[in-house]
């Protein structure tokens, strides 16, 4: 078991090294990509600022608190992009018949597909989110206790697992419908955008949905409430703290669904 683990870790290391080298071949593209991502998130933050300019607050959230909430989700999204973002275009591999090569090698297919790319472009997300998070935290004069540090790390881990799990779930749809990229852009991207604003502005049904069914609320909303000292009840406080647990469970469920889809998969190739 331990030997297999260490072999897999070494393999992952080798494969992502190849992926990083490939992305570094086009150095200009590499920097533009990072800059592009950082700029597009900064654009969303500027829109937020403009929205709040006249009204000052949205359901008791000031601009800096909103920025904190937004940056928290971009931070874990950045980590998620590094490992899982390429899953969204798995449909291309299935349609072209090139997916089969992940099945005939002596590596676990899920692991193999995951190790295929290590998206360094995501440093744009990390760059933006870390700067924005620090700016917001210093403007809000947040006091960081030990528990807060754990909540923050937990939110990054939980957010990565929840959003990664969702991408995997969407890619698994390609096993049944041969479509995934489009599903990402029309379902997950808009749904993710909604979570950039505090959940409390949306109707009850939606709050319930993203808490108990698709746990988006654990990516940034509940942890941010704890970190910003907005938790009004003990249960909300707990919700903010258990983000990594929810994330791991959700990720595992999505992974099982992906494997179920893989077992059903019949090659499109000739």
């Amino acid at each position: 078991m331990a030997a297999r683990m260490s072999r897999n870790i070494r393999l992952y290391g080798t494969m992502i090294q190849a992926s990083i080298r490939a992305q570094f071949q086009y150095r200009y593209a590499f920097f533009m990509n990072i800059l592009g991502w950082a700029m597009s998130y900064a654009g969303t933050a500027i829109t937020m600022w403009t929205v709040l300019y006249r009204f000052q607050e949205l359901h008791g959230w000031t601009f800096w608190q909103l920025l904190f909430l937004f940056a928290l989700s971009v931070l874990s999204w950045g980590v998620c992009v590094i490992f899982f973002f390429h899953f969204r275009s798995m449909d291309q591999y299935i349609l072209n018949g090139t997916f089969d090569r992940f099945l005939i090698r002596p590596i676990h297919p899920f692991f193999h597909f995951m190790a295929m790319k290590f998206d360094v472009g995501a440093f744009g997300q990390l760059l933006f989110s870390i700067i924005a998070l620090c700016l917001a935290a210093s403007h809000l004069h947040l006091q960081w206790q030990l528990l807060d540090v754990f909540v923050l790390i937990g939110a990054i881990l939980g957010g990565t697992c929840i959003q990664g799990g969702l991408i995997i779930l969407i890619s698994a749809a390609a096993f049944w419908t041969t479509r995934s990229e489009r599903l990402y852009w029309v379902i997950m991207f808009p749904a993710k955008s909604m979570m950039n604003y505090p959940l409390s502005i949306y109707p009850r049904l939606l709050q319930w949905l993203v808490t108990y069914l698709i746990p988006f609320a654990f990516v940034n909303y509940f942890p941010a409430i704890v970190l910003l000292g907005k938790a009004k009840s003990r249960s909300v406080q707990v919700f903010g703290e258990i983000s990594p647990v929810i994330g791991l469970v959700f990720f595992y469920i999505c992974y099982r669904i992906w494997m179920a889809g893989l077992n059903r998969y019949k090659s499109a190739g000739s």
Partner: protein, 268 residues
């Protein structure tokens, strides 16, 4: 002249038919449009909570603004997106279009008319007509008001088309277009007033937006729709839109001419 027009209308017909074949894509696109409408509806509802009028605009007017704005931007979404033009340049598919006996920028425009018309009929019209039935939005109540709005919305689309295609053609010079794309999308989403109308902007940003062509894309038609412009102001804004079309279309033609020679150089 009429023969040429008939040829371009044939492109519209073909792309209308193509959209009908891929109608599943239209439904999924509509789904995303509904989510964004829902999101901005609730953001504005939250902002207005407790305050009935801010800056002289009631929530009812604001909701109407968001409705018409999302309807228009949904409609624009059926046109050829920026990344597709970039992809055509990058893969070299565009070279095949250049050797054919038609003008490529005009072909894109007329094809977009076809796919947008299809999307309007099957998605935008049914959805927003029923939403209008429930919410009773503020809208033009005279035939001439409607005409002004439709004209302005059409001109707004032409501005967007000119700018978007120009940005797409930059791919001829830049291999990687990441940053260019983001400048375009940011400008269209903020400075055109799709989600935040210009009257809520800080003064300096408003002045900046008024000096740029983007406000002609959504802000002008939306404001005419919710009746925030007097007849005379509406005429002025429409004239300004026409001026911007002349400028942006002029730039598009210039960039296109340069791009074509670029292909010849590479194709040797």
């Amino acid at each position: 002249m009429t023969r040429r027009l008939r040829m371009y209308l044939e492109f519209s017909r073909k792309s209308f038919q193509r959209s009908a074949v891929y109608r599943f894509d239209a439904w999924t696109r509509l789904f995303a449009n509904i989510i964004f409408l829902f999101m901005w509806g609730f953001i504005w509802y939250g902002l207005y909570a407790g305050k009935l009028t801010t800056s002289g605009t009631s929530f009812h007017t604001m909701l109407s603004y968001i409705l018409i704005s999302q309807a228009l931007s949904g409609l624009h979404g059926a046109a050829t997106p920026l990344w597709e033009i970039q992809e055509r340049v990058r893969t070299g598919d565009i070279a095949m279009e250049i050797v054919r006996p038609f003008d490529y920028p005009l072909k894109v425009l007329f094809s977009d008319f076809g796919s947008m018309f299809f999307y309007f009929l099957v998605a935008i019209l049914p959805l927003y007509a029923s939403l209008g039935f429930f919410f009773h939005p503020v809208m033009p109540h005279t035939a001439s008001g409607w005409l002004l709005f439709l004209l302005s919305a059409f001109l707004g689309y032409l501005i967007r088309y000119s700018i978007e295609l120009t940005f797409g053609l930059f791919t001829f010079w830049l291999v990687e277009t990441g940053g260019v794309e983001d400048i375009f999308y940011f400008s269209v989403s903020l400075l055109s007033g799709t989600t935040v109308p210009l009257w809520f902007f800080p003064h300096w940003l408003r002045v900046l937006a008024e000096w740029l062509p983007f406000q002609g894309i959504f802000f002008v038609p939306d404001s005419i729709f919710v009746g925030l412009l007097s007849r005379q102001q509406a005429f002025q804004q429409i004239l300004l839109q026409i001026l911007w079309i002349c400028i942006t279309y002029g730039i598009l033609r210039f960039v296109w001419r340069r791009a074509v020679t670029k292909v010849v150089v590479q194709g040797g």
